[in-house]
């Protein structure tokens, strides 16, 4: 920008210097006349007359300095614009086609750029890694306190390591408190990320000592909303979970957590080494590190291996040792691991769409160049060099592409808004996607590439010596480039269609996957008790009892249940399988993975419609007894009792001699997402006096009423019990829908692009065939005059289209097959060679091709020999 101004100023300065030179000439001439005795006024007039027009002279001087290529460019552009204006239909079609291609690719780029290419908002972000164990419970690597302490002390590959507790929440302020995301991080957390607070001070190592006064860093949004962005607010005290906490500083506006979680409050972690190292007690952490220069995630992982193996031996329970692995991966991979494939698929799909659009426009340009053959031959004969003509054709396609690109940016803007509205949580960072300079630059690059792609082929083909030499318009229909372009379009479009139909089928399978429970008409209300106010099991039990009493009384609630977690998205508690013992049975095998469990009230199975397949449901009376019963899920029952009736067996869950009877078996439910198999689980009854219920619970209300109506009732009742308790209310169906949101988003987008692609390919086929028919009208007329029937003529045209389509489809299938391995990862229970999907894609394509070929073929059949032979 600055350079542009300097350049402009110099340009302007140069121009005024030339003007001054001419003025000085006039002045000197006037001086000379005056010296000859002419009056001053007359002298000036005479000087001006003798000089002629100073403006024309100045213009001539400017022309001397203007670069010759600029002149030619202006001329080409002028000519190009005239050509474009002369055939508005053609130009509009070409621009619209390019606008669709460039627009779609730009919109998708603005989304995937954030995920795949743009650097993360940390200095030297490429050196940041996430470190930990991969395990069966968590999709992301985690760490345990004692292992982390060992690694931090002994590792040599990282410049710094830091840790945080898994994301939590806390109550901010006086009642009614605000429930805000609240994360405990090590004191070097910001420093390791390479950041510093926007105001105030970062955590000190002293803040991390257990028992030190609590300090917090607040998010930029909090700073603005609570303190009006006052930089002097650091040092003030806020109320967090009813305890005073000093605010040490405020996070930068662009701050984001390395795992992309939410955080309005960062608290010093105060990891207590004596607690972290206590036997039979596990502190779960997320750990991040900054690589030393020269190290990569791979070398770091290798060098960390001895430490890792040592930790596994010492801290991981034997049954789980084989199920954990070491992970060191870049922060970007950590952030996008489950959408990386989707991002690349989307990006690939739109690039294919751009290619299709270019092929289409190139085809149009070829057709038009053929029509302008006479003009080009004439200009060549008049002395225009081939380079000059090529440059001119290229200028035309450049103008078209830039116009298409500009329209595409508008289209992209709209499409992006639609994408964000369609699925706000389908991709991380989707809501951050903007049409910024970088994205516009991408659009420009695509436009230029389109200009080259659409301009070069016609220029090259039309400017061959033979084409320029020819004056006649007959013949020359056998050029290979147009059929090849059409076949390529068919191929690309088949790949897109195949991908779309596979994804749609996979989505259909995913959504028709049995959940094992009935989400309709169920409203959930989730809450977490304040740790300080409900600091004893008695207080918690009393609260839960009151919640059951009050919520069950809401009019219109037919069934009510309370649980500590609900399907289908995980979050339940788990234990190693091998920890369980069955009365009168040998110990269970060591490798059994984890078993999930929940604490539920007797109404749970009925509220969610989970069938009891053997034995019986829990009974309300059992809640006051001591004989705490169990219900197993079907898959767990099958594993523990392959050949026996599970009902009536007694199980010790925690190796503590407390034997509990199995009273029933419940159907399996999807408890860790739609795509994964159900985890084996057991249900424990929420007895009246329990010290194990925990601080979090979810109430389930089955009701025919609208969720909004129920929500008001629930809020009122909950507020009557504890006005300071934040409650999250949501329809169960919404939770379930969210699970397939990403798959739906991907399938919808690819299907949309496939539809665009199909349209473009059909237009391409139609265009080429129409052109050929028009060009061969004379030949067709002769054939008809010699006795060919209209049917034969139509068959001839269709035959040609059929050959191109088949060639394209063969290429498309080959391309699809080569993409099979990539596609496999994005599909759920559908093979990349799923015959139904392939057939549907092929059928749709063939139908579109037939439609595109039919119109020109009919026109060919209706050629009147008398008219066509009289032409020319």
């Amino acid at each position: 920008m600055k350079r542009a101004i300097v350049w402009l100023r110099r340009l302007f300065h140069r121009d005024s210097a030339w003007q001054e030179e001419i003025e000085s000439h006039l002045a000197m001439r006037a001086d000379w006349h005056q010296a000859q005795g002419v009056a001053p006024d007359a002298a000036r007039t005479r000087a001006a007359r003798e000089f002629g027009s100073p403006l024309r002279a100045l213009e001539a001087v400017r022309a001397v300095h203007r670069a010759p290529w600029l002149d030619a460019l202006a001329q080409d552009a002028h000519h190009g614009l005239r050509v474009i204006r002369r055939s508005p239909a053609f130009s509009l079609a070409a621009m619209a086609t390019l606008a669709v291609g460039i627009g779609a690719s730009t919109a998708v780029f603005s989304v995937v750029d954030l995920l795949l290419f743009r650097s993360l908002p940390y200095p030297r972000a490429e050196r940041l890694v996430s470190v930990g164990f991969s395990g069966p419970i968590d999709n992301n690597e985690f760490n345990v306190g004692n292992a982390y302490l060992d690694w931090r002390e002994h590792q040599r590959v990282f410049a710094a390591m830091t840790s945080m507790y898994p994301a939590g929440e806390c109550d901010l302020g006086e009642a009614p408190a605000l429930r805000v995301p609240c994360v405990q991080v090590e004191s070097n957390f910001l420093a390791t990320l390479g950041l510093a607070p926007a105001a105030g001070r970062d955590f000190h190592p002293e803040d991390d000592r257990p028992g030190a006064p609590k300090v917090a860093l607040l998010s930029y949004a909090m700073w603005q909303s609570r303190f009006g962005g006052d930089p002097g607010a650091a040092g003030k005290t806020i109320l967090l979970d009813d305890a005073p906490v000093r605010v040490s500083g405020f996070l930068p506006r662009t701050f984001e957590m390395p795992q992309l979680g939410e955080a309005d409050v960062l608290l010093a972690e105060q990891l207590d080494e004596s607690v972290a190292r206590a036997p039979r007690f596990t502190v779960f952490l997320r750990t991040f590190a900054r690589l030393k220069d020269g190290a990569t995630a791979e070398t770091a992982r290798e060098q960390l291996l001895p430490l890792f193996e040592d930790s596994v031996r010492r801290y991981v329970p034997p049954p789980l040792q084989r199920e954990v692995g070491p992970v060191v991966r870049s922060l970007r991979d950590r952030q996008i691991h489950d959408v990386k494939l989707a991002s690349w698929l989307l990006f690939g799909a739109v690039l294919a769409l751009v290619a299709l659009a270019c092929a289409n426009v190139a085809n149009l340009m070829l057709a038009r160049a053929a029509a302008r053959k006479k003009e080009l031959a004439m200009r060549a004969a008049l002395g225009a060099s081939r380079g000059r003509l090529a440059r001119q054709m290229f200028t035309e396609s450049l103008l078209l592409s830039l116009a298409g690109g500009a329209a595409g940016c508008v289209f992209a803007w709209g499409l992006l808004r639609a994408l964000v509205a369609m699925a706000p949580e389908a991709l991380p960072r989707l809501s951050q996607a903007r049409m910024d300079g970088r994205v516009l630059l991408f659009a420009l690059a695509v436009s230029l590439a389109a200009a080259v792609a659409t301009g070069l082929l016609p220029a090259w083909e039309r400017l061959s010596a033979a084409a320029l030499a020819g004056w006649h318009s007959a013949g020359d229909g056998r050029s290979w480039s147009r059929p090849v372009l059409v076949a390529a379009q068919v191929a690309i479009s088949l790949v897109l269609l195949t991908g779309a139909s596979l994804l749609v089928r996979s989505l259909w399978k995913l959504e028709s996957e049995s959940l094992g429970f009935q989400p309709r008409r169920v409203v959930t209300a989730a809450f977490t008790l304040n740790r300080h106010r409900y600091n004893s099991a008695e207080k918690q039990d009393a609260f839960y009892a009151e919640v059951e009493r009050q919520l069950a009384r809401i009019p219109g609630v037919s069934r009510f249940a309370l649980s500590d977690s609900i399907p289908p998205s995980g979050g339940m508690r788990g234990r190693p399988f091998s920890n369980m013992r069955i009365a009168g049975h040998p110990p269970l095998p060591e490798q059994g993975g984890m078993v999930a469990f929940r604490y539920v009230t007797p109404g749970y199975f009925r509220a969610l419609g989970i069938p009891i397949v053997a034995g019986r449901d829990f009974d309300e009376k059992e809640r006051s007894g001591t004989d705490t019963p169990l219900i197993l899920s079907q898959s767990l029952a099958r594993r523990m009792f392959p050949a026996e009736n599970p009902v009536g067996q007694r199980i010790d869950l925690d190796v503590n001699g407390h034997w509990q009877p199995v009273v029933g078996v419940a159907g399996d439910v999807k408890n860790s997402g739609l795509a994964d198999a159900p985890q084996p689980e057991y249900y424990r009854l929420r007895v009246n006096r329990s010290d194990e219920l925990g601080l979090s619970a979810v109430a389930l209300l089955e009701t025919p009423l609208d969720a909004g109506v129920v929500e008001r009732w629930v809020r009122r009742q909950m507020a009557a019990i504890d006005p300071a308790l934040p409650v999250t209310i949501e329809a169960m169906q919404t939770k379930v829908d969210r699970l397939s949101e990403r798959a739906r988003f991907l399938a919808a987008l690819i299907a949309l692009f496939a539809a665009f692609g199909l349209l473009l390919a059909a237009i391409g086929l139609y265009g080429v065939l129409s052109f050929l028919v028009a060009q061969r009208t004379r030949e067709i007329g002769v054939r008809i005059a010699l006795g060919a029937s209209p049917g034969q003529i139509a068959r001839m045209a269709v035959h040609q289209a059929g050959v191109w389509t088949l060639a394209g489809m063969a290429a498309g299938w080959a391309a699809s097959a080569s993409l099979e391995r990539i596609a496999r990862g994005a599909l759920f229970q559908v093979s990349p060679f799923d015959p139904l999907s392939l057939a549907v894609a092929a059928l749709v394509l063939v139908m579109a091709a037939a439609l595109a070929a039919w119109l020109p073929a009919r026109r060919a059949a209706l050629v009147d020999p008398a008219v066509s032979l009289r032409e020319e």
Binding site: A17, W18, E21, H25, M28, R29, W32, V61, V64
Partner: protein
Amino acid sequence: MKSTDRLFGSLELLIFKTLAAGPHHGFGITLHVETVSKGLLHMEEGSLYPALHRLERERLISGEWRQTDAGRRARIYTLTAAGRKRLAESEASWSSVSLGIERVLRFV
């Protein structure tokens, strides 16, 4: 206005020849040609400047803003080494052309 300056690149030749005698500004060149040709040649002033700029771009002459003796700012042009060489070539070709024309004119 005479068309003499259009003939055979004569404008360039006149500029070179004038500058060979010493640096001049545009008006100085005009005046020199008028004076030396005793009024027979009159330069078209409008086309003088484009020519000067073109020759400068070709590095045959070089220009520089300076103060004239009369106290006016003007752009003073000097013949470069390349310009001197070109002058010799142009002079030679001009001589042969004018000799040729003279012979044709004198042929009766």
